[in-house]
Every structure is written in structure tokens, then in C-alpha cells.
């Protein structure tokens, strides 16, 4: 594709598009502090909060003896609106997605810290029109808004194809949320297309409303669990993926661009057993199992430390990290929204969430525009 064409796309009314490449490719980390639910402050005693937002990118955790200060790309305090979270976090990811980059938005945090509210919006309501709707519905709207505008501008020369899939990873097994009858699915790799879920249903989308319908339908199939500690906690990771393909005809040359947008709602971080986030806990041997099922993980950790020597580790990463490998230190625009609950009872989990977010900031991504030129200039 001629460089000029891309230049046009950038210059036209989307000035913010220039910023991603200037800012570099480190993963963006946003922290959002939810307000405590009503009555919490009273029961927690005064001053019931374990943290305070100092500025739009620093947060202080009241740890003892020394308070800790964390710096992130953006810190949203309790008053921050859904709209402002969307514009500061997701907007630029959706825009780069239109330009052929892969993008991923994660919500991370303890159960009850507001992940679902941030990503989806308030439960039990029609989120798609609700003023409190979350990042995902807003991303849909914005994506299709951009597509429509692009189409109008380019006329018949340019066409778009959007497809989506929605899967869930539970107990290291993959389920298709768009086809509740399907059994466990598998991850495979394609030399041209990267990692994909073999056999997952792909639904063609033509509007934001349609995308939203697919999302709500799939959401209902998610697995949740309740314990006496947590009223409701999601035990699975949900990954909603939109593939945006654009085709542009320019004389005899056809430019095809494709990009993925992954919207991820992670399982409550306090229950995550198989990612690197869990800190120091020991893995238990099952009481009945003959095997010490995690010995391998311990040995793997030992080998991991081994100084740059050639070695092979028999245990692959978890399904989630494998699926999103591109988003973690791979080749995409990625941002993480770390959700925290400010109550002092959540101090431990909040600290570990902030530590995780701090580590995530160190991951660097390198985004490359995916362009494929077909046809001859003959």
C-alpha cells in the first residue's frame, strides 16, 4: 500500500491517531478505583479507605509503616464516569484497530472490584442504551461509527467485514459462548493467521446493536460461582474478539488489512491459579489424587531461572496467555484496566493488583501494520 494512503487516513480528522506511535509501545496501564458500595464506609470504620488518588496518574496506598505510591498511565478516581474511562482507555485502541493494528483491552482485579461494571456496565439492564454502559458497548459504537465514516469517505472503493467470536476459558478448557452445545475447543496456530480457537463460531456483524446482541447472549452462558466469601464471582475468563477486515480497491491493486480487537474480562484475580500473578502461594497436592499435580509447575519455575541456556519446558503456558500471547509482549496495542476496591478490608488484594499492574507496565509491545498487497501493477 502506498504510504500516502495511510497518511491520508491518519491526518483526516483523527489527530489522536498520531499519538500511539509517538508514545511507544509499552502496554498502557490504567487503574480505576470504584466507589465503595453504600454503607461500606460506615462498617469499615473511619478512615475506611486504604488508598487515595493523588493525581490523574498517581495513587497512594496507605500501607504500614510506609505508604506506597504507584504511578500509572492514568488513574481514575471514584467519580470518573464510564464515558471518560472509555475515552481515555479504549478509544485509541479502537482507532488503531481501524488502522490495521491488533488491540487488546483487559480488565483485571479482584472479584467485586468492578471489572464487569467497567467492561459491561450495570447488570440487569439494557446496557446498550444505559448511560452507565461500559467499555465494551461503547467500543462497539465507536468501531461502527468509524467504519461508517470511513465508508462514506471512500465511497464504493472500500468495504469492511466484521466478525466476532466469544469464548470462555474455565479450568483450562475452552468453551464457545456463542454455541453452548459445543464441547471443549482447542487452540491452534496458523502460520499466517496466528493463534486461533479451532472450531469457534464466528458471527458476522453489521452494526453495533448486532454486536451487542451477540455479547449479551454469550454473557448469559458464563460460569459464575458463589461462596460464603463472595456472593458472585466469575470463575472464568471471557474473551470477546472482533475481526475487522477492510478491503480497498485502488486501480488494480487490492489492499487487505485485518486486525483483531480482543476485549477480555478476567476471572477474579484472587482465584487465579494458573497465571503468574499469584505470588508466593504453595500449590497443594490433591487429597485424593495420587499425583502431586503441580510438581511440574515447580520444576518449570526452577528451569525458568536457568541463565539463558537452551532448554525446553514441557508445560505450556496457560490457555489464556497462549491465546493472548500477541497482546502480552507480542505485537499489538494493549491496555490493562486494573480495578481496585478502596475498602481497607481489600488491602491485600489491592496491593497485589497494583503490583501486577506495575509489572505489566514493564511489558513492551511492538505493533506492526498488517498489510497485504495483491494484484499486479501491470
Amino acid at each position: 500500500m502506498a504510504p500516502g494512503v495511510r497518511g491520508d487516513l491518519r491526518d483526516s480528522a483523527l489527530p489522536s491517531l498520531n499519538s500511539p506511535s509517538v508514545e511507544g509501545d509499552a502496554i498502557k496501564v490504567y487503574v480505576r478505583v470504584r466507589p465503595p458500595s453504600e454503607g461500606t464506609v460506615l462498617t469499615d470504620g473511619d478512615p475506611g479507605l486504604c488508598l487515595s488518588v493523588l493525581s490523574s496518574n498517581t495513587i497512594r496506598l496507605h500501607s504500614k509503616p510506609e505508604p506506597k505510591i504507584f504511578t500509572f498511565d492514568y488513574v481514575a478516581n471514584m467519580e470518573t464516569t464510564q464515558e471518560s474511562v472509555f475515552s481515555s482507555v479504549a478509544k485509541s485502541v479502537v482507532e488503531s484497530c481501524m488502522n490495521g493494528y491488533n488491540g487488546t483491552i483487559f480488565a483485571y482485579g479482584q472479584t467485586g472490584s468492578g471489572k464487569t461494571f467497567t467492561m459491561m456496565g450495570p447488570s440487569d439492564s439494557d446496557n446498550f442504551t444505559h448511560s452507565l454502559r461500559g467499555v465494551i458497548p461503547r467500543s462497539f459504537e465507536y468501531l461502527f461509527f468509524l467504519i461508517e465514516r470511513e465508508k462514506e469517505k471512500a465511497g464504493s472503493g472500500k468495504s469492511f467485514l466484521c466478525k466476532c467470536s466469544f469464548i470462555e476459558i474455565y479450568n483450562e478448557q475452552i468453551f464457545d459462548l456463542l454455541d453452548s452445545a459445543s464441547a471443549g475447543l482447542f487452540l491452534r496456530e496458523h502460520i499466517k493467521k496466528g493463534v486461533f480457537v479451532d472450531g469457534a463460531v464466528e458471527q458476522v456483524l453489521s452494526s453495533a446493536a448486532e454486536a451487542y446482541q451477540v455479547l449479551t447472549m454469550g454473557w448469559r452462558n458464563r460460569r459464575v460461582a458463589s461462596t460464603s466469601m463472595n456472593r458472585e464471582s466469575s470463575r472464568s475468563h471471557a474473551v470477546f474478539t472482533i475481526t475487522v477486515e477492510s478491503m480497498e480497491k485502488n486501480n488494480e491493486i487490492v489492499n487487505i488489512r485485518s486486525s483483531l480487537l480482543n476485549l477480555v474480562d478476567l476471572a477474579g484475580s484472587e482465584r487465579q491459579k494458573d497465571t503468574h500473578t499469584e505470588g508466593l502461594r504453595l500449590k497443594e497436592a490433591g487429597n485424593i489424587n495420587r499425583s502431586l499435580s503441580c510438581l511440574g509447575q515447580v520444576i518449570t519455575a526452577l528451569v525458568d531461572v536457568g541463565n539463558g541456556k537452551q532448554r525446553h519446558i514441557c508445560y505450556r503456558d496457560s490457555k489464556l496467555t497462549f491465546l493472548l500471547r500477541d497482546s502480552l509482549g507480542g505485537n499489538a496495542k494493549t491496555c490493562i484496566i486494573a480495578n481496585v476496591h478502596p475498602g481497607s478490608r481489600c488491602f491485600g488484594e489491592t496491593l497485589s493488583t497494583l503490583n501486577f499492574a506495575q509489572r505489566a507496565k514493564l511489558i513492551k509491545n511492538k505493533a506492526v501494520v498488517n498489510e497485504d498487497t495483491q494484484g499486479n501493477v501491470s
Partner: protein, 595 residues
């Protein structure tokens, strides 16, 4: 009264048994929406048992009661920790150990005491207090050792305290359960040491855990084999080839037993078969790494300061080895051996197939290479490019690395060059197909590897050419085309670092700094090596070469931190930046003698 107590006792036993079944068996069938339902019911039952026991407290024998209460506290402690209620769990477990403290070395208490300490270890680790966990677990380990030394009879299993006389376990079963509890202690300690970064100790405890699993038949063969194979990779990183080979041989033996054994359920799915094939391929990959490391370490020992085989060093090492062979077998540590006699025999037979000492000449290196290459084929059978892109390419990269290190041992330059050509032939087609949008990192690795291989081949051709009286046109053409190809791949690599607007980064990231500088440096050298009779062309090449050398010098001047990564290259570049302009001046003068 006695009858009533007896009847009451039967009810207590019944309730206790029900609670255990609920928490161990039923809880696994709990619906996802209520994962702890059975655990909660079990907890209620245990509380009832506790009530009943208190009621019977008067008149009972104090010690017996204390031990029974300790069992209940233990069960309640485990129940609470299982359901994420740590503080309550801790209280119960503490009460359990307090009750048992005076009797912990007696056969009816020792096992329970160790298990309570295991659980306290886990509990504290969940609070990220590894040091505290460590003290509990190490004291459990010490208690086991002390008991085995002073008594050693199979102790009672905790569950027996709530069994009728006729249900009591056999000594064999008791011993099995006791040993299992201790194996768990070791397994938790392995993790504690890992978290405390006492790596060697952690590895030793993993090793011992594996050994005990094998001894007490408490293992799934496939999983055991994978663990042993992974452990071998730890030993590789420590250059302990004998231990590494032993782990791998044991892994292969145990794995093939698993393959041969008819599976427990006849309706073995295709997925299980697939899994099994994948595991086999994983173990093969560990063997590949073994061969590769052995060869590479030998190369390190043998190479001189320019990376060629040093014959003096070679004969020195051969003499040394001869001496060591006489004292052989002594070094074998009995402790690291896996398995009982018949497994041990198979493992030893497996080990025979490949050496664990450094190869010192081409013949020895070739034998190891061939073993590695066989495992490459085996691993590729499963990890095909369609579906397993990353794994497949990693295996091909290993194959290429095997050829590379074998070439080091080859004295004949023509044959050595052919080995490198084999590397090109396997890497190039894969690179061509790969989409860098998803495989940027691998794509860069391949670019660099291809460039380096062409570079090496070009150097070899130059060396071959230097032996001739005069360079023939065929050799010149060959040298030039190899150099061009090397340049092409180095440039592709450098291009991959550009940002979307095709601008080369002002500051290079830490992880690509060295490769990028080396690429620049090699390109500079390559332009210097291009042979042409056209002086104008030659001047151009020198100019390009100078630009690349200058890049290195300027970059390091601007970012002095970079110097550390490329010291030798920088020194040579500075030299060239000094020399080249004079040379070019001379050439120019020759071109236009009248100016």
C-alpha cells in the same frame, strides 16, 4: 451407660465417616454455582461430632479424647482453608497441634501432627508468609526423620481414630499413607525453597519427591515422565549432563510403560491419544536440548579465541578424559538414581544410547548429533507446522543449531559449508511463509539466523578461496552472492525494528540493542568483503561500509550505555572509521589520477 456410650460412639463414627466422604468424594460433584456445598455440609457434621465428643468427655480417657479432638480440629482446619476462610482454619489447626504436642512422637499421633503442619505451611503461604510456612514444614520433616529413627513402625492413619476395631488398616496401608504425607511435606518444601530462591535445594527436593513417587507407586506415569524430563532441563542449565541424562532416560522408560499399559478406561478418546503423542514429542524435545547443550558446551571447551577448534586443547582434554575413565563409576551418586531394580535396568539401558561426556572430535560429536536429529524427527511428527507454528519453528531452529555446532567439529571447509547450507534450506522456506504480524519475535530470530548463516558461509568460501592461487570467477560470484544474501537478511531484521512510519528508532530497546548493532557491524564488514573489479563500485561499497561503521561509533558516543554490549565491535569500527577514508582517498586518486 457403657452401652449408651458405645452406641453413641457408633453414631459419632458414622457422622465422621459421612463428613469425610462429603468433603473428599461428594465435593467433587458439587455444581459450579455452589462449589463448596458439600464442604459446608461436611463442616456442619464435624461440628456435630465435636458436640457429641464434648458430651462424652466426662469419664473418658483424657489422652484418647485429646487425640480424637485433635483429629476433628484438623479436619475442621482443612475444611475452613479449603473454603477460603483462612483465619478460622488456622485456629483449628493450631488447636490440633497444641493438643498433640505432648504425644507427637507416638505412633498414633505422628502422622496427624505432620499433616497438620503441612496444612499450616500451606495456610501461611497463602498469606504470602513463606518464612513462616518454611518453619512448619521443616519441623514436619524433622519430626518424620526423628520418628523413623526412634520408632519406625507404621503409625496410625488419622482417620483410624474414628474407626471401629475391625476396620483398622493393615500395616502396609498405614505405612503407605504415612509415607505419602511425608512426600507431601517434601513437595511443599520444594516449593518453599523455590519461592525463597534456594534453587539448588528446591531442585533436590523435587528430585526426591519424584523418587519417592516412583518408590511408593504414587504417580501417573505420563505426568511423572514429563516432570522428570523437565527436571532434566534444570540439570542442563547447571551443566550436569549425567543427572540430566538420567532424568531423561527415566522419563522415556516410564513414559513407554504408560504407552504400553492398556488404559484404565477402554473408551480412550482420540483426544487422549493426541495428548499422549504430544507428551512423547515434548520428551523428545527435551532430548534434543540435551544433545544440543552437550555439543555446545564441548564446543566452548574446545574453541580458541577466534572460535575455531583448538587442537592443543583437544589432545589435552583427551588425555584428561583417559585418566578420568580409570576412576569411572566412582562418581556416580547413588542418591540420584530412580527406581527399583527392573526400572533401573531399563533406565541404564536407555542411558547407554547416548554419551554424557563432552565429545572431543568430529566422530563423537556426530554420534550425539545423530541422536539429537532422530529426536528432531520424532518431535516434528507431532508438532507440525499446521497447528503448532511456534513449536514447529522452535524445533527447526534447534535442528539448525545442531548442524551449526556439528560444523564446528568438521575440519573440511567444503563439507562444513554444506552443513550450513542445510540450515538455510530448513529455515528459509519457513521464514518466507511466516506472518510477522503474529510472529514478530520468531520472524526476527529467523532473519538474524539466516543472515548469520550466510555470513558464516561467505567467510568459509573466502577461506577456501584464499587457499587457491587465484580466485576463480565462480568463487567470486559465490562469495558475492552469499554476502548479498547476508546483507539482505540483516537489513530485513533492521527494518523490522522500524516504527510504522518506517523510521528507525532513535534509541534501541535493551533486548534488540546487541543484535541490531551486530547486524550493522556485519553489514559494514560485508560491504568491505564484496569483490568487484569496478573501482567506482568498490568506492561505493567502501562508502556504505563506512556509513555503517560510523553508525556504531556515533550511537555509542551518544548513548555510552550501549558500549558494554558491543565492546569488540565498537573497537574495530573505530579503527575502520579511521582507516577507510584514507583508503578511499587513495582509490579515488587512482581513479582520477589527474586531479
Amino acid at each position: 451407660m457403657a452401652a449408651a456410650a458405645g452406641g453413641g460412639w457408633a453414631a459419632v463414627r458414622e457422622k465422621f465417616r459421612a463428613a469425610r466422604t462429603l468433603s473428599a468424594v461428594e465435593s467433587r460433584k458439587d455444581p459450579e454455582t455452589e462449589p463448596y456445598r458439600s464442604k459446608y455440609s461436611a463442616r456442619a457434621l464435624l461440628q456435630e461430632v465435636k458436640q457429641l465428643l464434648s458430651a462424652a468427655e466426662e469419664g473418658g480417657e483424657a489422652r484418647l479424647l485429646a487425640v480424637r479432638r485433635a483429629v476433628l480440629e484438623y479436619e475442621l482446619g482443612v475444611n475452613h482453608t479449603d473454603t477460603e476462610e483462612l483465619s478460622a482454619g488456622e485456629e483449628h489447626l493450631q488447636r490440633c497441634t497444641q493438643l498433640l504436642e505432648p504425644h507427637r512422637l507416638s505412633p498414633d499421633c505422628v502422622s496427624l501432627y505432620i499433616q497438620a503442619q503441612n496444612n499450616l505451611g500451606i495456610l501461611w503461604s497463602e498469606r504470602d508468609e513463606i518464612k513462616t510456612a518454611q518453619t512448619y514444614l521443616e519441623s514436619a520433616e524433622a519430626l518424620y526423620n526423628q520418628y523413623m529413627k526412634e520408632d519406625g513402625n507404621p503409625p496410625l492413619d488419622p482417620s483410624e481414630h474414628f474407626m471401629a476395631e475391625e476396620e483398622k488398616l493393615t500395616d502396609q496401608e498405614r505405612s503407605k499413607r504415612f509415607e505419602k504425607a511425608y512426600t507431601h511435606t517434601l513437595y511443599y518444601l520444594a516449593q518453599v525453597y523455590q519461592h525463597l530462591e534456594m534453587i539448588e535445594k528446591a531442585a533436590q527436593y523435587c528430585h526426591t519427591t519424584l523418587k519417592r513417587q516412583l518408590e511408593y507407586c504414587g504417580y501417573y506415569p505420563v505426568e511423572w515422565a514429563l516432570n522428570a524430563a523437565t527436571l532434566s532441563q534444570y540439570y542442563l542449565s547447571k551443566q550436569c549432563f549425567m543427572e540430566s541424562r538420567h532424568c531423561l532416560a527415566a522419563a522415556s522408560v516410564i513414559f513407554s510403560q504408560a504407552e504400553q499399559a492398556p488404559s484404565a478406561e477402554d473408551n480412550e478418546t482420540e483426544q487422549d491419544q493426541q495428548d499422549l503423542r504430544q507428551r512423547r514429542a515434548e520428551i523428545a524435545r527435551c532430548w534434543i536440548k540435551y544433545c544440543l547443550n552437550l555439543l555446545q558446551s564441548a564446543r566452548k571447551l574446545l574453541e580458541d579465541n577466534i572460535g575455531e577448534l583448538d587442537p592443543d586443547r583437544q589432545s589435552e582434554l583427551k588425555a584428561q578424559r583417559k585418566k578420568e575413565e580409570d576412576e569411572k563409576e566412582k562418581g556416580r551418586k547413588k542418591a540420584v538414581l530412580f527406581g527399583t531394580s527392573d526400572i533401573c535396568d531399563s533406565v541404564l539401558a536407555m542411558e547407554e544410547k547416548v554419551s554424557s561426556v563432552y565429545p572431543l572430535d568430529f566422530q563423537e560429536a556426530r554420534e550425539i548429533f545423530l541422536v539429537g536429529q532422530n529426536y528432531v524427527q520424532e518431535a516434528k511428527e507431532f508438532f507440525q507446522v499446521d497447528g503448532y507454528v511456534t513449536d514447529h519453528i522452535e524445533i527447526v531452529q534447534d535442528h539448525s543449531a545442531l548442524f551449526k555446532v556439528l560444523a564446528f567439529f568438521e575440519e573440511d571447509y567444503e563439507r562444513r559449508c554444506k552443513m550450513h547450507k542445510r540450515r538455510i534450506d530448513m529455515l528459509e522456506p519457513i521464514y518466507a511463509d511466516l506472518n510477522p504480524q503474529y510472529y514478530l519475535l520468531i520472524s526476527r530470530q529467523l532473519q538474524f539466523e539466516l543472515a548469520d548463516t550466510y555470513y558464516e558461509m561467505m567467510d568459509l568460501k573466502v577461506a577456501i578461496g584464499n587457499r587457491l592461487e587465484e580466485l576463480d570467477s565462480h568463487t567470486i560470484k559465490k562469495i558475492n552472492s552469499l554476502a548479498q544474501l547476508a546483507i539482505k537478511y540483516y537489513e530485513l531484521f533492521l527494518d523490522s525494528l522500524r516504527n510504522p512510519d518506517k523510521v528507525f528508532p532513535e534509541v534501541l530497546e535493551e533486548d534488540v540493542l546487541r543484535p541490531a548493532m551486530v547486524a550493522k557491524f556485519h553489514i559494514a564488514r560485508l560491504y568491505g568483503k564484496l569483490i568487484t573489479s569496478d573501482s567506482k563500485k568498490q568506492l561505493e561499497n567502501m562508502q556504505t561500509s563506512l556509513e555503517y561503521y560510523t553508525f556504531l561509533v556515533d550511537y555509542c558516543k551518544k548513548y555510552p550505555d550501549a558500549v558494554r554490549a558491543v565492546e569488540t565491535e565498537l573497537e574495530l569500527s573505530k579503527e575502520m572509521v579511521g582507516l577507510l577514508p584514507t583508503r578511499m582517498e587513495r582509490l579515488r586518486a587512482k581513479l582520477c589520477p589527474f586531479i
